[in-house]
């Protein structure tokens, strides 16, 4: 099996090399059959890598510990669901996932453009196969996912317990889909420059893919935040960690591109800017992939102990140099057809939005790579913390949300005073109304959060007004009832109204971020059963301890050996709110030095957070039981010296009982975060809006079908 997998990789490398040659020769010599063949090698690559992926999945699901990757990241005790996801938890497996997803998305993109822009597509094919070849080459020469050892280990190390969380199944594929989709606009942008066809055609062809890249990256980022919030024991969703930042940067430049491409489509402006944004997005996506693998920056996420840094740095340098060379050498073709007419117009608002987004990206870039920059300039590695990021990103985010309310309603070319009065009265009223509500409610002590609430109200006002006006116009024209008119309105202008819904979702998301970060109550303390504490308006009482023992080979749930937790009673003003049961899971380790009993619980402990979820606030609780308490430790050491491995689990049961009878003081971490649910709700709204905008418009489908049937009729007539 391993041989088959590795053979697939070698074959894939050959296919990449052939495809690059064929498409370049085809486009250079004008022989279409060669560029066609180049395109087909992308399909072939997708097929071959699918086989490789299936081989690896089978190895993981079948516990084939001859594979190094299986032995290192999976085990019999790892539940089947997580064994399937463990494929991409290793360096090697995640490279394969990357290459596989890239080949699939590239195949789709090249299939959809097979009848258009043959020259641009041929160059794009070569570039995409270049990426494919790079990643497959890494696997063949540096990190082979199909490497095997003899003798075959009897048992694997197991998937890191921290990763045994449902979103682990979808977070990496989503994020990698986002990253790989970013390379498609990059390839077509390069292709357009190489073929000297920089009109709006290539932008139309990749618009959907840029949007899909943006969407998948966004989903990946949000799922990562959700994992951090509900699995890591600190209760935050964003920590300005290097790897988080790496995924946010291409998302920001992608957002900028999605807006500025509209200006190119409508007004033929900003061509240099657009093509630069596309190239930057692709490069940042590769840098994001690189950051996780190189270990150059300190991050909790980084893969360590590997030296893929040099090839990646070469690739990135090549991408940057190629981009700069092509944009500079083709600058004459990238002249704008129009000039900016007025500073008060939709174009300039879009431009401002672009500048803010790129500014944000620059801030994050600087902060993320600061350890390297500082070492280069001062010889001393130093890093900036979250407060530094917040200082710049919070005001920029405020401006961004405000602009997302102005953009949709301001006129193209030149806005007049009358236009402004007509469009901004209601949104401004909404913002002022919000300020008034905050003032009366007495929650203005956090000026930045208040400003965000007002900006969000402005967005709701302006977008609500757009929906209302559009619906009213349709009702007047078609005489439809209001809900029907609203539906028809959205259906006829999917991109526009889908975009508006995305804006609403972003505003909702930021309301959640502002409220939960500014008005959070946190408490960390040790409690014994019967004791209680106050967190915000809530009273939390430690009622009694809990303990459950799972036999080692029962692969239920996440596969922990021992779970120690607490029953917490949450009340507000004497009224019962919720009963929560946070716990900590202790997992088996493979270190024999910990003894027969010790090794059963000696792996990494993982918090199982307990949440009371609500629309207005979440009560978040985590426990850190004191397993090192002297009485418990004695059970482990006694068991180690007396019990053989097969009976060691008896000591664990004994330990659990001792914990229940004489619970030592446990450390608790409590958070009451207002409106935090709205971050996820906002994310869902964004997702819905993006789907509406991405869905093929029924009119074009119908038009295509109609055109085809007309053609058939004409052919029929001709034959008759």
């Amino acid at each position: 099996m391993a041989g088959l997998g590795f053979a697939c990789l070698v074959l894939a490398l050959v296919v990449c090399a052939y495809g690059i040659g064929a498409s370049l020769y085809g486009v250079r010599s004008g022989r279409v059959e060669f560029s066609e063949s180049g395109r087909r090698s992308v399909y072939a690559l997708a097929g071959i890598l699918t086989v490789a992926m299936v081989v690896l999945e089978i190895a993981f699901l079948g516990n084939d510990f001859a594979f190094n990757t299986v032995a290192d990241t999976s085990s019999r005790t790892t539940p089947a669901l997580y064994r399937a996801a463990a494929v991409w938890s290793s360096q090697e497996g995640s490279l394969l996932l990357w290459a596989w997803l890239m080949s699939l998305w590239s195949s789709l993109a090249l299939f959809l453009t097979r009848k258009r822009m043959r020259d641009v597509a041929a160059y794009a094919t070569a570039i995409l196969l270049g990426f494919g070849g790079f990643f497959v080459g890494l696997m063949v020469f540096y990190a082979n996912p199909f490497a095997t050892t003899h003798p075959v280990p009897p048992e694997g190390v197991g998937l890191d317990p921290l990763l045994r969380f449902p979103t682990m199944m979808i977070h990496p594929p989503m994020l990698y889909s986002g990253y790989t989709l970013c390379t498609i606009p990059f390839a077509f942008g390069m292709g357009a420059l190489l073929a000297r066809r920089v009109d709006a055609d290539w932008i139309k062809a990749i618009r959907r893919f840029a949007f899909a890249a943006w969407l998948f990256l966004g989903i990946g980022i949000l799922l990562g935040a959700l994992w951090s919030y509900s699995e890591l024991g600190w209760g935050g969703y964003w920590g300005w960690d290097a790897v988080e930042n790496a995924s946010l940067m291409p998302w920001l430049t992608g957002t900028a591109f999605l807006h500025s491409l509209m200006i190119q489509e409508k007004r033929g402006m900003l061509k240099v800017w657009n093509v630069s944004l596309v190239l930057a997005t692709g490069t940042l996506a590769i840098m994001g992939t690189f950051l996780v693998r190189s270990g150059v920056l300190n991050s909790i996420h980084a893969f360590g102990g590997h030296t893929l840094g040099v090839p990646f740095v070469c690739l990135i340098a090549l991408m940057i140099a190629g981009s700069i060379y092509l944009v500079v050498s083709r600058r004459d073709m990238l002249r704008s057809q129009h000039r900016l007419d007025s500073l008060i117009s939709r174009e300039s608002i879009f431009l401002a939005n672009n500048l803010v987004l790129v500014g944000l990206c620059f801030v994050i870039f600087w902060g993320t790579y600061f350890p390297l920059i500082s070492e280069a300039f001062t010889g001393q590695e130093a890093s900036v913390g979250p407060p530094w990021f917040d200082r710049y990103t919070v005001p920029l985010a405020l401006i961004l949300v405000l602009l997302s309310g102005i953009g949709p309603v301001i006129a193209w070319r030149r806005a007049t005073l009358a236009n402004a009065r007509r469009n901004f009265l209601i949104p401004l009223g909404a913002a002022l109304g919000m300020l008034l509500v905050l003032e009366i409610g007495g929650v203005t002590q956090k000026p930045l959060a208040s400003a965000m609430f007002c900006c969000a109200a402005f967005v709701f006002g302006s977008i609500g007004q757009e929906f209302f006006r559009g619906t009213r116009a349709r009702r007047a024209m078609a005489g439809e009832r209001a809900p029907l008119a609203l539906l028809a309105l959205v259906r006829r202008n999917r991109r526009r109204y889908g975009g508006y819904i995305v804006h609403i979702g972003i505003a909702v998301l930021f309301v959640g971020v502002a409220a939960s970060s500014s008005f959070q109550h946190a408490s960390q303390l040790g409690l014994s059963p019967g004791q209680s504490t106050r967190v915000g308006a809530y009273e939390i009482r430690y009622v009694r301890p809990t303990a459950t023992v799972t036999p080692k080979y029962d692969a239920a749930h996440t596969g922990s050996t021992l779970n120690l937790g607490a029953v917490l009673d949450v009340t507000k003003h004497g009224r019962h709110v919720a009963t929560l049961n946070p716990s900590e899971g202790f997992y088996a380790s493979e270190e024999a030095s910990q003894g027969t009993v010790g090794s059963l619980i000696g792996g990494q402990p993982v918090s199982h957070v307990a949440l009371d979820v609500g629309l207005t606030r979440n009560v978040w609780t985590a426990i850190e039981p004191d397993i090192e308490a002297p009485a418990l430790k004695r059970i482990v050491t006694d068991g180690n010296s007396t019990l053989p491995p097969e009976e060691a689990v008896v000591a664990i049961a004994y330990l659990a009982r001792a914990y229940l009878q004489h619970p030592p003081q446990a450390q608790f971490n409590f958070l009451v975060s207002p409106l935090v649910m709205w971050i996820w709700i906002g994310g869902l709204i964004v997702f819905g809006g993006a789907l509406i905008a991405l869905w093929p418009a029924p009119s074009t489908v119908r038009r295509r079908v109609a055109a085809r049937s007309r053609a058939r009729a004409v052919r029929g007539l001709a034959r008759a």
């Binding site: 290192d72 360590g304 130093a382 530094w388 990494q604």
Partner: protein, 138 residues
């Protein structure tokens, strides 16, 4: 003012604003950054009242909990100098003896205090505990 000139003026204004902002950003990043030091460097260089990012491994047998305060020592990767710390706040799940950690510390008097909630644990070989030599290219 003719349109071409107006555009040039706008461009100059926009560019200088960008330069000013970028300078502010760069300046604050250098002044707000905490230097990343190993324990032996920290012992030599630490000045009281300044924040440092300490990286190293958790010394064996040094972890003790006293109520809300976690006491542990961070030593150089190669062993040697160990700095005892008292830390309050969230302890990440992967924290254990022998693991690599990053924590912001401040010297107060002769003692080192870990900043609240600043502890980060790094898994030197991500998601696997096997020695790294084994998965090279074999």
């Amino acid at each position: 003012m003719n349109p071409a000139r107006k555009r040039t003026v706008r461009l100059v204004v926009a560019l200088s604003a960008a330069v000013v902002l970028a300078t502010a950003l760069i300046y604050t990043s250098f002044s707000a950054a905490s230097p990343a030091l190993t324990p032996s460097q920290l012992v030599r260089e630490a000045q009281p009242g300044r924040s440092y990012e300490l990286t190293g491994t958790v010394a064996k047998g040094s972890v003790h909990r006293e109520g809300a305060v976690l006491r542990f020592a961070v030593e150089d990767r190669v062993g040697g100098t160990a700095i005892p710390l008292s830390y309050t706040g969230v302890v990440p799940d992967p924290f254990r003896e022998g693991r690599e950690v990053i924590v912001n510390v401040e010297k107060q008097g002769g003692r080192y205090i870990g900043e609240n909630n600043s502890l980060i644990t790094k898994c030197p070989s991500k998601y696997k505990t096997a020695p790294p030599s084994e998965n090279q290219n074999s």
